[in-house]
Amino acid sequence: MRRRNRAGMWMVLPLTIFTLIFVAAPLLYMVFLSFASQSSSGFGVEWKFTLENYKRILDPVYRNTFYGSLRLAFSTTALNILLGYPFGYFMAKLSAKKKKAAVLFLMLPFWLNSLIRLYGWIILLQKKGLVNEVLLRLHLIDKPLKILYSYPAILIGMVYVLLPFMALSVYSSAEKLDWSLAEAARDLGAGRCYAFFTIIFPLTLPGLFSGIILTFIPSMGLFFIADILGGNKIVLVGSLIQEQMTRGNNWPFAAALAMVLLVVTSLLLGLYKKLTNSDVLEGIG
């Protein structure tokens, strides 16, 4: 028994070392960095303990950036649930052949750089773009809408980029479902709707949960969507960090922002896990 445990320990050693070097160490480095400060020359880091960076985040400008990011992340996730759940669910109900095609089409955009795909959205959303053109032709609007470089444009871009993750997680959950369960419910006196909400929906929750996590976390940090479709007008935490690292050259402050982002996201996930009581998540631990 003990011998086997020891053998097992040796087996996981490479993984442990890998994790230590590539995950734990950089994270620890970032923690230290966040308590340091930018050197007065403007380049490099001055290694002296300070809470200045964290104090600075409490400034309304940065605090509001966090609120804005959270709001966007929540709306993105909510829209993704509304669109992605039915998407994944009905995909799972297709015939085996159509299923394969549907998954392929859903994965297809992944083969193209998402930056390029977002530039595609600029063409669609601009003043004389396809969306406005169609709406005008249908006489739904009198003059072109200013969608591009606005909050809705960012939201559209976010939902677009993250939708496959939600759809695929729900799909993987629904795909494993025993459809005779729905028949059993209907046999026992349930209408289609009741059968869905009492049997099918609860059993696809693991997929929905992992979909939520897979869309919520990235949507807190996807800065380039806001940059491209928001026209730099709306600043998110992600873009703030990126800016501090590159143009601002203030790595310690960027590290502090990243730490706060990490803590906020973890807290929200912890709260969420507690509320939904879900230990089992589809695909991820």
């Binding site: 369960l181 028949e183 059993a184 046999d187 026992l188 209408g191 059993l203």
Partner: protein, 348 residues
């Protein structure tokens, strides 16, 4: 006379281009244990699903107490189903699974728990209320599935190969129990299986199906002893099937000999097929029998020997407790009541 509960009238069902039911007509009576028996793909499950309401027939009628119901959704029918793989709700415990139908009908909580308890007692799972259904054995899950269906007090219980996933010993035990439960609750069971032994040992009536058509309807004894055609004879039990012709009523000729039999109603000289069940044949000294042959193979089967006997015309399969060494010349003896004459079947 028992009351007709369900009448199927000339049901057909097409899936895409394939016709899986080719005109099924069947009466199902009250308090009857009726089995749909046939090889896979014969349409037995489709027939059951039409009765349950999961499929609509392409043509034909389903009458329930004389009222057409083929367009009525499953939740409005007075039938409940026990599914092949149980289809228990994995996120509900045993009691909540059983109470599912009652909760839907807004039955009072105290009544529900009483009924659940009574059902669990009947299927032999008293005290299992709070168990996790996914942790039960196959046999226990099956019992919960039966309780879940019966607690709604349906007029008919439909069972779709419910014992298929269980091992042989538990299957035997569940067969007996199902029969007992059926007598206890006194409702109609419609049972689908491909296992002929299961069908024969449990049913009041057996419907043998093949290729979307009913081959024969009858009691287990009828089906076994008086198969109507070659398919029924070969599907149910082992048999020697021999081509011959009726000389006249009560006299049949095959393998160049004439035999007295108990069958009548055929035309004189009509081409027929004769079934001789292996266990109805005896081996005797050659001079005591018309048909003689040589033992080619003998296998010990526990209760009996299976002996392959080669005669001038064919190979006979004989089940007997007597022993005969390979190569020995022997005679085959059988009485008039052992000969079962059937109409000749077209292409099979």
């Amino acid at each position: 006379m028992k009351n007709k509960l369900i009448e199927l009238r000339n049901l057909t069902k097409n899936f895409d281009d394939q016709q899986v039911l080719k005109g099924i007509s069947l009466d199902i009576y009250e308090n009857e244990f009726l089995t749909l028996l046939g090889p896979s793909g014969c349409g037995k499950t489709t027939t059951l699903r039409i009765i349950a309401g999961f499929e609509e027939p392409s043509d034909g009628q389903v009458l329930f107490n004389g009222i057409e119901i083929s367009k009525v959704p499953p939740y409005k029918r007075e039938v409940n189903t026990v599914f092949q793989k149980y289809a228990l709700f994995p996120h509900l415990n045993v009691a909540d699974n059983i109470a599912f139908g009652l909760n839907l009908k807004k039955v009072e909580k105290s009544v529900i728990s009483q009924k659940v308890e009574r059902m669990l007692k009947m299927v032999g799972l008293s005290g299992f209320e709070n168990r996790d259904v996914t942790l039960l054995s196959g046999g226990q899950q099956q019992r919960v599935a039966i309780a879940r269906a019966l607690v709604n007090e349906p007029k008919v219980l439909l069972l779709d190969e419910p014992l298929g996933a269980l091992d042989a010993k538990i299957r035997k035990q569940m067969q007996l129990e199902l029969k007992k439960i059926q007598r206890e609750v006194g409702i109609t069971f419609v049972y689908v299986t491909h296992d002929q032994e299961e069908a024969l040992s449990m049913s009041d009536a057996v419907v043998v199906m093949n290729n979307g058509e009913i081959q024969q309807i009858g009691t287990p004894t009828d089906i076994y002893n008086e198969p109507e055609n070659r398919f029924v004879a070969s599907f149910i039990g082992e048999s020697n099937i021999i081509e011959g012709h009726m000389i006249r009523d009560y006299l049949v000729e095959f393998d160049d000999f004439q035999f007295e039999c108990v069958d009548k109603g055929f035309e004189d000289n009509e081409e027929v097929e004769v079934v001789l069940r292996p266990e109805d044949l005896d081996i005797v000294e050659p001079e005591h029998a018309k048909i003689t042959g040589v033992v080619r193979d003998i296998t010990f089967k526990g209760v009996h020997y299976e002996i392959m006997i080669e005669t001038e015309k064919r190979m006979y399969n004989v089940h007997t407790t007597d022993y005969a060494p390979v190569g020995k010349k022997i005679g085959l003896l059988f009485g008039p009541e052992d000969i079962h004459v059937m109409c000749k079947m077209g292409a099979y």
